[in-house]
């Protein structure tokens, strides 16, 4: 969709979901990317992995479904699906690090033009750092995608030449889904696949220093 308006968070999740090939094994991290699950079609046959030791994770649990021994990476109670399996943490992260997941979707503070990811630490000395599985997810999947708003609250592009926040991984991101555009990070540069509510020239101005390649007509 080359939409007339910037996408809402739900629309962004929908674009990501539509892009996931049928039959993929997918990790949706924590927070906003988990919304993508709401837009996966049953006939897509996507199987969700959660880092805390499960394949075939189902939707959030409610009421009597809640089982305190069954949570997702955000420690929210979830359900199981037929054909799910449980395994320990070393096996779960071997699955990630070994490149067995087809797609991983993460949030980000910043993504660089060469696919560096910053999403785990503000770098502020007063903040207690916590990394969790972010660095493992960043380098592990066959395709690491980022889902984020393009601009910070004060209007700065989060797609940058070089990350100023502490890195999560180097050169690991290949797609960036934002409210204003979907970007493909390729060896020859950052391609723009779609824009939403802006045209290519507007977008180039928004991201400033990062030189974009227009593929919206393709």
């Amino acid at each position: 969709m080359n939409a007339d308006q910037p996408l809402t968070r739900d629309q962004m999740a929908e674009v990501v979901a539509r892009d996931i090939p049928a039959g993929s094994y997918v990790n949706l991290g924590i927070g906003q990317p988990t919304k993508v699950a709401n837009y996966l079609r049953p006939d897509q046959g996507v199987i969700l992995h959660t880092e805390n030791g499960m394949l075939g994770m189902g939707p959030e649990a409610h009421g009597d479904e809640v089982d305190h021994d069954l949570v997702n990476a955000g420690k929210i109670p979830v359900t199981q699906t037929p054909g799910c399996s449980f395994f320990h943490h070393a096996d779960s992260f071997a699955m990630m690090r070994g490149g067995h997941l087809d797609v991983c979707v993460l949030g980000a503070y910043q993504v660089s033009a060469t696919g560096d990811l910053a999403n785990w630490h503000t770098g502020r000395p007063e903040d207690i750092p916590a990394v969790g599985g972010a660095m493992d997810l960043a380098v592990g999947a066959k395709r690491t995608a980022v889902l984020m708003s393009l601009l910070t609250r004060d209007g700065q592009s989060k797609l940058v030449e070089q990350c100023s926040y502490p890195l999560t991984g180097v050169g690991c991101v290949s797609r960036v889904y934002t409210d204003y555009a979907t970007f493909l990070i390729e060896p020859d540069g950052v391609h723009v696949r779609e824009t939403y509510g802006v045209d290519f020239a507007d977008l180039q101005q928004m991201v400033g220093a990062v030189r974009l390649i227009d593929r919206t007509a393709a």
């Binding site: 805390n52 030791g53 089982d67 069954l70 449980f86 320990h88 207690i128 660095m135 493992d136």
Partner: protein
């Protein structure tokens, strides 16, 4: 050596020395052995290094161990949580040291200790501040960081069932760090919901073989770390 079935948590944790490195299972609340941690607090042991995914949530379990001043250092991946106020306060007061480890490296370093591996090259963390000062190497075009095993004197683990030999099965995502910690510590102490006769667990489904288990205690109705009063 064969496992011992203990009547009480106090008996199970007896003899944990000051200054011990203690692995504690759990990913947040699921799998966290709250009753064993409370028994450890009761022993008075101090100067502990705790290896766990989180640094405690709420006011019980690991959070209580930190609040009571028994922990000098935490090795974990995700200390900051909405209800990690016990750790947060101790950390900001400079009372507890933090070694932050990416979760998969934490799991693999624990697994390496259990498997007799002296070190391994992992891609996770390469080029980040968590790899600063560590040896790096490019192998077949991929950049790796050298990481070393994390061993422990004691592991506290929560499983679902044990047989009388100490074989263990777990329940759903409460499995998490239990199996790797059980096999990486010199002494492994396990709380389970039920102890069954030897032979009652299908040999195909045992997750932690008895060789890794030293003490087992049954806690029929264990507290949830987030909810226990």
């Amino acid at each position: 050596m064969s496992a011992t079935i203990c009547a009480t948590t106090a008996e199970a944790v007896a003899g944990i020395a000051d200054g011990s490195t203690v692995m504690i299972g759990g990913f947040g609340s699921p799998g966290q052995p709250v009753e064993l941690i409370e028994a450890l607090i009761d022993t008075g042991a101090r100067g502990l290094t705790v290896v766990s995914n989180n640094a405690g949530n709420g006011d019980h379990g690991i959070a209580a161990l930190i609040r009571e001043g028994r922990v000098d250092k935490v090795i974990c991946s995700f200390p900051r949580q909405s209800d990690s106020h016990c750790f947060d306060a101790a950390y900001r007061a400079g009372k507890v040291e933090l070694e932050l480890v990416p979760q998969g490296n934490l799991a693999e370093r624990i697994r390496a200790a259990s498997a007799g591996i002296g070190g391994f090259f992992t891609p996770t963390g390469y080029g980040t501040m968590l790899a600063e000062g560590k040896e790096v190497r490019q192998i077949d075009g991929v950049d790796y960081v050298l990481e070393h095993p994390i061993r422990a004197d004691v592991a506290l683990v929560k499983a679902h069932r044990a047989d009388r030999l100490g074989n263990l099965v777990y329940r759903k995502t409460a499995r998490n760090f239990g199996p790797i910690m059980a096999s990486a510590a010199t002494r492994t102490i396990v709380q389970v919901e039920e102890i069954v006769e030897t032979g009652a667990l299908d040999p195909e489904v045992i997750v932690t073989p008895s060789i890794f288990v030293d003490q087992v205690v049954a806690i029929v109705d264990p507290a949830d770390a987030e909810e226990s009063a």
